[in-house]
């Protein structure tokens, strides 16, 4: 037991050394997301969870405030990946009122019929997926992926996700997509000082985005 603690301490120390020496030893993980049919997949979320790392047990709460705006009856962006504890603003750019709500377990809330910016941002303090809708405009749709740790990214229009300066070690890699047909099985990867490239496919159904305007430009 003592030995284990000791060993863990050594690992933490070497991790710290690694983090500090990022500039010289940049290990990059790039993942290309595709559908099962082979086309590039955007808005796929990959979360890496370091295995056996004490550091991840107490994540540092983010103080950053991001916003999901409503413009042209569309949530922008469509998908947001945030760490636990992130506060999100919902500014309304349209002239109509919106009624943003969520029945998701990770965060249930309503912002009833407002114009402009609500008074306080909403803090997402539980990891999980939050589906956002508008009671007035049924077609409006947005997703927030509240990640447990700091290693969570979503794929861009080319289906590419990049983790830069990823510390060495073993990771549990999990996948999620708003339109996934079935949940993809998690994987374990080992990061060394070398760059790593992975291709991952997901079983998703084809669906049109609520509207193409705005989303594409922002992304």
């Amino acid at each position: 037991m003592i030995y284990q603690v000791h060993k863990g301490l050594i690992k933490l120390l070497t991790g710290l050394i690694l983090v500090t020496s990022i500039n010289t030893q940049a290990a990059e993980l790039s993942i290309v997301m595709t559908t099962k049919q082979g086309s590039l997949l955007r808005d796929a979320v990959v979360e890496l969870t370091p295995i056996n790392k004490i550091a991840s047990v107490n994540p540092i709460l983010s103080n950053k405030i991001i916003s999901i705006s409503q413009k042209d009856k569309t949530f922008i962006p469509f998908l947001s990946v945030v760490p636990v504890g992130t506060s999100i603003d919902f500014p309304n750019m349209d002239k109509t009122r919106h009624h943003v709500y969520s029945f998701s377990q990770a965060k249930t809330f309503q912002l009833k019929l407002y114009i402009g910016k609500p008074e306080t941002p909403i803090i997402f303090d539980t990891a999980g997926v939050v589906a956002l809708g508008c009671n007035i405009h049924d077609f409006m749709e947005s997703y927030i992926y509240v990640a447990q740790g700091q290693f969570a990214r979503s794929s861009n229009l080319e289906g590419l996700i990049k983790f830069k300066n990823l510390p060495k070690g073993e990771y549990l890699m999990e996948f999620w997509h708003p339109w996934q047909d079935s949940k993809e099985v998690s994987k374990q990867i080992v990061m060394t000082s070398d760059n790593l490239s992975i291709q991952q496919s997901m079983d998703v159904y084809e669906e049109e985005y609520p509207t193409n305007e705005g989303i594409n430009s922002t992304y």
């Binding site: 809708g133 997703y143 708003p178």
Partner: protein, 779 residues
């Protein structure tokens, strides 16, 4: 029925027309049937589309309501918060509003969360959701409690799918009636399942039809192999049915097109066609009847003419045109040729081909036509020895001679008379006028004059038999020919070569003929029989022997004397037949008598012809062996005249008989011209003195002398003597006195039949002396 050309022509026309009509009618009807079926199927196809459209419309209508519910924020909230009471009341409320049979809430995976109809919990929707895992509305069919329902499922989005809310309509009578109202077709909803034994079962009918009708329609649908592409008729053809699968296992919608009005329509057309065709056929028969009559008239005229020609009539044939012209010309030519040929045939049939004279047929016909005349008569002329002339001169010259002869004969008669050649050298002249012997002599003389045949002078010997019709009774052609034949026969025998038929010749000739003809048959059917006349030995007063005599009772002619038929038989050569018969009969009788205990020697008469028959002895031998007869039981008698004919052979045969142990006698002694010296050489034992000398021996002294002398002479040659024909007791003592050994005569007995003879013989052997007593009494 169709023998005549006309009826055949009509029949052919009518049959071909009927055939054409039948074929075209069948084709027309077939086309109409096919057409109406195609139309019906088209109608069903349209109805199918209408049906699908109706279903679609319903689901759209339903969708609107359900979508409204699904997007209601309150409802969403209730679903998200699992507020079951709210959900249920919402569902009920909404179902009522859209008129659905039940409302339902499913989880995003398709597990039933809530429903207004409890039976729904028995149904599984996960597959339905899985198959349609999209964010859109699901329009489909489900089976709940074995009934089909039309179902609309709408996702409840928040905004991700958190549940599915649905409303369902039963595929029931209401829908069926709706669709019937639109399409005019009857509608059924049924399930068809395959059970464990691979049998199709159908159930759950919802129908606008009679249930029984649907049952039978479904059965035939199953039999045709459950397939939406099939269009089938009901058994009574009242409905045409097509099926639409309902996207739920086993459930089908059926569209029934009432087809009986279509069938009625086809039947109407069929009837009309039959009527039209019948009228056309009738008209065709009438028309062809008249036109055939007109066409065939020339032929019928020719046919009737040909018939008359066939009957032998002479017919005028008018020339006609075309093919009938050829026919009529041919027919008239044929008529002339037939007439010509007939003439030739007639000539040949009635004329002799060599001489050109009439032949036998013609003359017989002529005679039968002229039988009534008592005038005239016929003369049959023969050329004697014509065969020799033919042999000598050759047949060619013979033929020339016959022609010359015929010519001369023809020149000797008048036109009313007729001359014919009957056969080779036989000619017949028929006189239709009075003629006499002088005429015959003239003809005879003229024909005997010499003929000049290619340089050779030939004189012919002619014999002519004539028959005058005068005083002839029951003249027939046969009778005339027979009688003139008789007289011609006679002419051949006569010196001058001319004979005239005398009354009665024909009758005796016929009797002779029938005697000769009937004899062979008389032998077998016992018209001939034997009688026996005792020969009494007067010295011993015993009867040791008898003579067998033949008797004939003819069925028509009655009793015929042997004196009449024996010479005829000798002449015809049948006598040997009779002799053999007699020998066999006697042998048979002897064997019978021997059994009956009488032993007597029977003498058989042999004719001259028998005596030159060298086979006679062997025949006698075989007959004796057959009946076990000893030679001492038989004796043979031969007439004096018979011996005289061929002495050498006769003596040879007699010697042979003698050697066999038979007693031989000379019969009828004294009637022939034989000399006594001649007797000496004959191997005989006995002389029989003819009855002509014996029958009056007691009164005729010269006969008595002859008898006495003959007896003495015979004795001196060593012959015993039998006197024939002693009739009175007076002669007995005289003949005894002459030393005669045996007497055969009516005094003792007439010839007797075998049984009578047996009786006589036994009575005579007991009381022989009485015969002499009577004589002494009379003395």
């Amino acid at each position: 029925m169709f023998k005549s050309f006309r009826s055949q022509l009509i029949a052919m026309l009518v049959i071909s027309l009927a055939l054409i009509q039948l074929i075209s009618g069948t084709v027309i009807l077939d086309t109409i049937k096919q057409d109406s079926l195609d139309q019906a199927i088209k109608r069903i196809d349209i109805a199918k589309k209408v049906f699908k459209r109706t279903i679609d419309n319903r689901s759209k209508h339903l969708s609107v309501g359900v979508t409204l519910l699904a997007s209601d924020f309150g409802f969403k909230t209730a679903v998200a918060t699992h507020d079951d009471a709210t959900i249920r009341s919402s569902l009920e409320n909404n179902a009522n509003r859209v008129g659905a049979d039940f409302g339902i809430l499913l989880s995003s995976e398709g597990v039933t969360i809530n429903a207004t109809y409890d039976m729904v919990y028995g149904s599984d929707f996960t597959q339905l959701i899985k198959d349609n895992r999209r964010r859109r509305n699901i329009n489909g069919f489900i089976e709940v409690n074995h009934k089909p329902y039309q179902l609309v499922l709408v996702p409840v989005k928040a905004p991700n799918i958190i549940a599915w809310v649905g409303m369902a309509f039963q595929m029931g009578n209401e829908l069926a009636n709706d669709i019937k109202g639109i399409t005019g077709l009857d509608v059924s909803f049924s399930s068809i399942e395959v059970d464990t034994e691979n049998e199709h079962l159908h159930d759950n009918h919802i129908t606008t039809l009679n249930l029984d009708d649907v049952d039978s329609i479904l059965s035939s649908f199953i039999n045709n192999g459950v397939d939406a592409n099939n269009t089938i008729f009901s058994n009574d053809k009242n409905y045409l049915t097509s099926a639409v699968p309902l996207n739920i296992k086993h459930h089908w919608a059926f569209l029934h097109l009432p087809y009986n009005s279509w069938i009625q329509n086809i039947n109407d057309i069929t009837q009309r066609l039959v009527l039209i065709f019948s009228i056309i056929l009738t008209l065709a028969i009438i028309l062809s009847w008249f036109s055939a009559r007109r066409l065939l008239k020339p032929i019928q005229i020719l046919v009737s003419k040909a018939r008359r020609i066939g009957r032998g009539e002479h017919v005028e044939i008018q020339p006609q045109t075309g093919e009938f012209g050829v026919l009529s010309k041919t027919l008239s030519g044929m008529q002339t040729r037939i007439e010509k040929r007939e003439e030739e045939l007639f000539f040949q049939a009635s004329h002799d081909s060599l001489t050109g004279l009439k032949n036998r047929n013609a003359v017989e016909e002529f005679l039968s036509a002229n039988l009534n005349t008592s005038q005239g008569g016929v003369v049959l002329i023969n050329i004697r020895h014509f065969k020799d002339i033919n042999n000598m001169m050759g047949f060619e010259s013979g033929d020339i001679l016959l022609c010359e002869f015929a010519q001369r004969l023809n020149s000797l008669i008048t036109q009313n008379d007729m001359v014919a050649r009957l056969a080779g050298d036989e000619f017949l002249v028929v006189f239709n006028r009075q003629f006499d012997e002088l005429t015959l002599l003239k003809i005879h003389h003229s024909l005997q004059n010499e003929f000049d045949i290619s340089g050779s002078k030939i004189c012919l010997q002619i014999c002519m038999g004539a028959l005058f019709f005068v005083n002839q009774e029951d003249l027939t052609v046969n009778g005339i020919m027979r009688r003139v034949d008789i007289s011609a026969d006679e002419a051949k025998q006569s010196e001058n070569g001319i004979a005239i038929y005398e009354q009665g010749q024909d009758e005796s000739h016929r009797r002779t003929l029938s005697i000769i003809r009937d004899l062979p048959s008389s032998l077998s059917n016992s018209q001939l029989f034997l009688v026996y006349q005792p020969k009494v030995n007067i010295q011993e007063r015993r009867c040791y022997s008898a003579e067998a005599l033949i008797r004939w009772i003819h069925p028509n002619l009655g009793f015929i004397s042997p004196a009449e038929f024996i010479p005829l038989l000798e002449r015809s050569g049948n006598i040997q037949l009779v002799t053999k018969w007699v020998i066999e009969e006697v042998c048979k009788q002897q064997s019978t008598w021997l059994i009956q205990g009488m032993e007597v020697q029977v003498a058989i008469n042999l004719s001259a012809l028998d005596l030159i028959d060298l086979e006679l002895t062997s025949f006698i031998k075989s007959a004796m062996e057959k009946y076990h007869v000893k030679p001492s039981q038989l004796a043979f008698e031969v007439t004096e005249s018979a011996v005289m004919k061929d002495t050498k052979t006769v003596i040879h045969v007699l010697n042979a008989l003698k050697k066999m142990g038979f007693k031989l006698s000379i019969d009828d002694f004294g009637t022939g011209q034989s000399s006594l010296a001649y007797l000496r050489d004959l191997p005989v034992d006995e002389v029989k003195i003819d009855r002509a000398f014996v029958h009056d021996v007691e009164s005729n002294e010269s006969n008595a002398l002859i008898v006495n002398t003959t007896i003495q002479l015979s004795h001196s040659f060593g012959f015993s003597v039998t006197a024939e024909g002693m009739e009175g007791v007076e002669g007995l003592s005289i003949l005894e006195g002459f030393g005669c050994e045996t007497i055969q005569g009516y005094y003792f007995s007439k010839p007797l039949k075998p049984d009578e003879f047996l009786n006589w013989h036994s009575s005579f052997s007991y009381s022989a002396d009485q015969w002499w007593k009577e004589s002494s009494l009379e003395n």
